[in-house]
Symmetry: C2
Subunit: 310 residues, 2 copies
């Protein structure tokens, strides 16, 4: 098996003597791919797989990515192949749900302003907002979106969940505009697919309430960033928080750093202490199933770009 | 009835024609007190009642304060009198619980540092902490402390509640050191009484874990502020957030503004949009009971300094 590496390396000690582990980086991936039966995409920020995959020679029969999203590795040749793709479904659900709750509460209680005033040594009493009794629309009905719904509900927030198609307890895309028009919180937690690319655009920010706040913990490309910056500048909406961006890392000259009422964080919503160990453990367990000939879990529908829901 | 005023004034329109409402400020309170049957302490930050009460002449038979704490108005002469004291019990419970959740989540997810880095246009990925599975010790078993416990439990935090005396579901003070020694979060939400004055001192911060964080939404005097600053400076504990202080407002030259890993907020945890209207409504309802000769609610045990629990 081959590992597309990133520091810190995965702990795969349990596989010692059971798998021959080779390593690749972005430069060597293309040449090593033909001799690998399994590829672990540990460097989940890299687009190297998408670039290397269409080349010559045999290809791994199984690719696992240590991420929830798979958009960074998919290419038509991989989609059309017999190769099985699995992801890190489950690892990030609760951490991301907590992160969303942290952002929602911080915005409701005006915490960024409090910290600013603290820096200026200025005592200025303000009124916060209650989150209990407010309304959230969570877009993305996978395990992450569902975990966000559970956590917001626990804070007495009324929630609506929007998925790719309507089913019990989940709204279809046809309800989206109606739901975001009355939401206090719009949370983007969808995978990046053809359907979700650029879905939060000027029109959608225009539909939201002037008091609404928007949070993106899905993928940067769900959002038309210029449109969001303009919507915030013109006070079409009251605030936003982005943890993911079209281009990551955000460069120092990005205009997003100082958009008013925008919180910028460095793609960390799912990453809590110990998360890398959990990702490694999850891969080892999948590898053991694979080696024993048992069916894999977390198998991505390569056409859709995510693991289909229950 | 007499109102010790503060801007914005209470909406007492429902009492028009039913009560003769007079107004006082800190300077005129002493001279108007003898002719008032009821005193509404709307200016909950003022210590004028404590100063004016011991003077000459009759005194109101009922004093209501638009606050949860009563420490700012109590004096021996009021305690020993037949005057009934009531407070705003109930209004602040959920807002304060949400505020504590906001602080806990912000500290777990390193949000203050994220905002700092955003200001510096710096992308620096860090790992947050899970709050689910951590342990909190909430000190103060009144409705505010109990609301905090409910909200933290909803975030999958294991909680222990400490009150003035042990009873079902509530620990007594004898358990405090043992509980804070293993808590990830120590939350102070107690009234200011002889028992709680200065209870969070150097010894108690020394008992806490180096990874622990401390939050005070009760009264400033529960905490020995210098000891907290020293505990943070020496990394005896990992962080803290104070919403209340020994002297409020905090002056620009206070050393607390820039203690490392300390969040300073201007006594706003319970104050959410509409809170003044709710305080006004609550007083009007109590006034109607009073006028009808029915028993008042939220009656403070003047010896203890709070409304005794169920």
């Amino acid at each position: 098996m081959l590992v597309l590496d990133a520091e810190p390396l995965p702990r795969l000690g349990r596989l010692t003597g059971r798998a021959r582990i080779e390593h690749a980086d972005e430069d060597t991936l293309a040449e090593r791919l033909p001799s690998a039966d399994v590829l672990l995409v540990w460097d989940f920020a890299s687009h190297a797989v998408r670039r290397a995959w269409p080349g010559q020679g045999p290809r791994p029969r199984w690719v696992h990515t240590a991420s929830a999203g798979v958009d960074h590795l998919m290419c038509p040749e991989l989609t059309d192949s017999d190769t099985v793709v699995t992801n890190a479904r489950g690892i990030f659900d609760q951490p991301i749900a907590e992160y969303v709750a942290a952002l929602v509460l911080a915005m409701a209680k005006d915490l960024p302003r409090t910290l600013e005033l603290q820096g200026a040594r200025e005592w200025r009493h303000r009124e916060g907002q209650r989150v209990g009794g407010t309304r959230a629309c969570v877009v993305g009905s996978g395990p992450i979106g569902r975990a966000i719904v559970r956590t917001l509900k626990a804070l007495d927030i009324t929630t609506a969940l929007v998925g790719r198609a309507a089913r019990t307890g989940i709204h279809g895309p046809e309800d989206l505009d109606r739901l975001i028009a009355r939401a206090d919180w719009v949370i983007a937690a969808a995978p990046l697919t053809e359907q979700t690319y650029g879905m939060f655009d000027a029109r959608r920010f225009g539909v939201m309430q002037p008091s609404a706040r928007f949070v993106n913990v899905g993928r940067g490309q769900l959002v038309v960033e210029d449109a969001l910056a303009e919507a915030l500048g013109k006070r079409w909406i009251a605030g936003a928080a982005l943890d993911v961006f079209e281009h990551e890392p955000l460069t120092p000259d990005s205009a997003l750093w100082d958009v008013p009422n925008l919180i910028v964080s460095p793609h960390m919503s799912g990453d809590t202490i110990g998360w890398r160990d959990e990702l490694g453990r999850q891969f080892v367990e999948l590898y053991e199933r694979w080696a024993a000939g048992r069916p894999l879990l977390n198998v991505v529908d390569k056409q859709r770009g995510y693991v289909p829901g229950r």
